[in-house]
């Protein structure tokens, strides 16, 4: 790993903005939410409650899937779904 010396760092603790977008927090999952489209009524409760903006929706306001790049597997979506359309399964199932 090439770590920079003090002369090569930007001053004032500054880094470019929005670098958080590049961090794959999905790597932190140990449980994965699996969405069953046939059961979904598109009430958007999962989208409202997701703390990581990881429920994907379209212009019509319908759920289209889960953003696994960011989803940390907290399970709130599965918990709040009134139709049990989301099931939490071990991440190990998907290796």
């Amino acid at each position: 790993m090439n770590l920079k010396g003090w002369k090569d760092l930007p001053p004032a603790t500054v880094v470019p903005a929005s670098t958080a977008e590049q961090v794959e927090t999905g790597q932190w999952r140990s449980m994965r939410p699996v969405w069953d489209e046939s059961k979904c009524i598109h009430c958007l409760q999962c989208w409202v409650q997701c703390p990581d903006n990881s429920i994907k929706t379209n212009e019509e306001g319908k759920v289209t899937g889960i953003d696994y790049f960011y989803c940390k597997g907290c399970g709130i979506c599965a918990k709040v779904c009134p139709k049990d359309a989301i099931e939490m399964r071990p991440e190990a199932d998907f290796i």
Binding site: K4, A12, V14, P16
Partner: protein
């Protein structure tokens, strides 16, 4: 055409702020600096400045608001004292690490407990490691001039560090003396416009300040701050030279008074210098070769200047208006270190004086000199004006 008037250190500071016309001032009152935001708030109410004055709920909020405004790109000033400064402590190193060029009028008052509104240097000394520039002013003229110069020093691209401009509480801040003011235009032209480095308001070039930097990068970032502090000296000399050309008033990093042929020198900061200079004159009239060295810039500490002046002396007395309980007093410790590094051994005595605003008299200054003259040298801390 320069204007002369009789005013106090606080009011001179407020006047400097009026002429500087900072973009933002976030402040909270505490004796004896209250006058500064109070007078300034009258300027704001009267429409004499364009400043956005933010009246916050505590000093911690004041410095936090100042920092946010400063990294947004605003020119920012504030003032405080004593435990108000202490309450800001948590944010000070962040201001320095963010390289926010805040100019801060620090009116020295002793830190409680016990509660006491009077002057000593314990408030600013507690902040000496926070990465800010420290200037100690002897009188109100110097306070006024230093605030103006500090805007340029702080904002200089080789520095970009915040500055404490210190003055003795009540002694300098509230007592009246004749001062020469610059014209509004002169101040405006001297300080120019701020050209901020990474302003948050520049939404086309977005940045984040102060993200996590662990064992892999923290050290390098501190080293950058250390480098900036090393540049202060050169920048200070350029700007004070420019100020001298404008006003005829010179402010060397250390002020030497009758030290060239002196055998014994007392080292001191701030307003008590007056009494020491008086003692010098009185003792010289009696045939003693004595001198006074006033340290104006405490951070970065001017070891070389001090060592040069004190080398070859027969004895030195360092007078501190703050104690470092459990170790040598701050100025004493640094002066001794300066001498050691220069390779000369000069007996150096330590005196703590004036804590909690205890008056410092001519006879106290004389005592420091007569101890030296009598060859009474000791590394033990002594006290001037203390009842045993």
């Amino acid at each position: 055409m320069a204007r002369r008037d009789i005013t106090s250190g606080n009011w001179a500071a407020a006047e400097a702020m009026r002429q500087i016309n900072p973009d933002v001032v976030a402040a909270y009152p505490i004796t004896p600096s209250t006058d500064i935001p109070m007078k300034f708030s009258q300027f704001v109410a009267d429409g004499l400045v364009d400043t956005n004055l933010v009246t916050v709920e505590s000093e911690h909020s004041a410095i936090s608001a100042c920092l946010a405004a400063s990294i947004s790109g605003a020119r920012v000033m504030t003032a405080s004292s004593a435990n108000g400064v202490a309450l800001m402590h948590e944010i000070f190193p962040i201001v320095a690490a963010y390289r926010a060029p805040i100019v801060f009028a620090l009116v020295n008052r002793c830190i409680g407990a016990p509660i006491n509104i009077h002057c000593d240097h314990s408030d600013s000394m507690a902040e000496r490691d926070m990465g800010w520039i420290h200037l100690y002013c002897e009188d109100a003229q110097e306070v006024y001039d230093s605030l103006i110069m500090s805007v340029r020093i702080a904002e200089h691209k080789d520095v970009l560090l915040p500055v404490f401009v210190c003055q003795d509480g009540f002694i300098t801040s509230h007592c009246f003396e004749p001062i020469e003011f610059l014209e509004d235009e002169e101040v405006k032209n001297f300080i120019g416009e701020r050209d901020p480095m990474f302003p948050l308001l520049d939404v086309d070039n977005p940045v984040a300040y102060g993200s996590l930097a662990l064992t892999d990068y923290y050290f390098e970032i501190k080293r950058q701050q250390i480098e900036a502090m090393k540049n202060v000296r050169k920048v200070y000399e350029e700007i004070s030279e420019e100020f001298y050309k404008l006003t005829g008033r010179k402010y060397p990093i250390v002020e030497a008074y009758k030290t060239e042929d002196a055998e014994y020198v007392a080292v001191i900061m701030s307003s008590a210098t007056g009494a020491v200079k008086e003692a010098v004159d009185k003792l010289r009239a009696e045939g003693h070769k004595v001198g006074c060295l006033r340290v104006r810039m405490f951070r970065p500490f001017p070891w070389k200047d001090i060592a040069e002046i004190l080398t070859g002396k027969k004895g030195i007395a360092v007078l501190d208006r703050a104690a470092s309980i459990g170790a040598g007093a701050p100025l004493f410790t640094e002066v001794k270190g300066a001498l050691y590094d220069s390779g000369t051994i000069v007996p150096t005595n330590s005196y703590v004086y004036g804590l909690g605003g205890r008056d410092f008299f001519l006879h106290d200054a004389e005592k420091a000199f007569t101890d030296l003259i009598n060859g009474d040298f000791s590394p033990e801390e002594r006290y001037l004006g203390l009842r045993e």
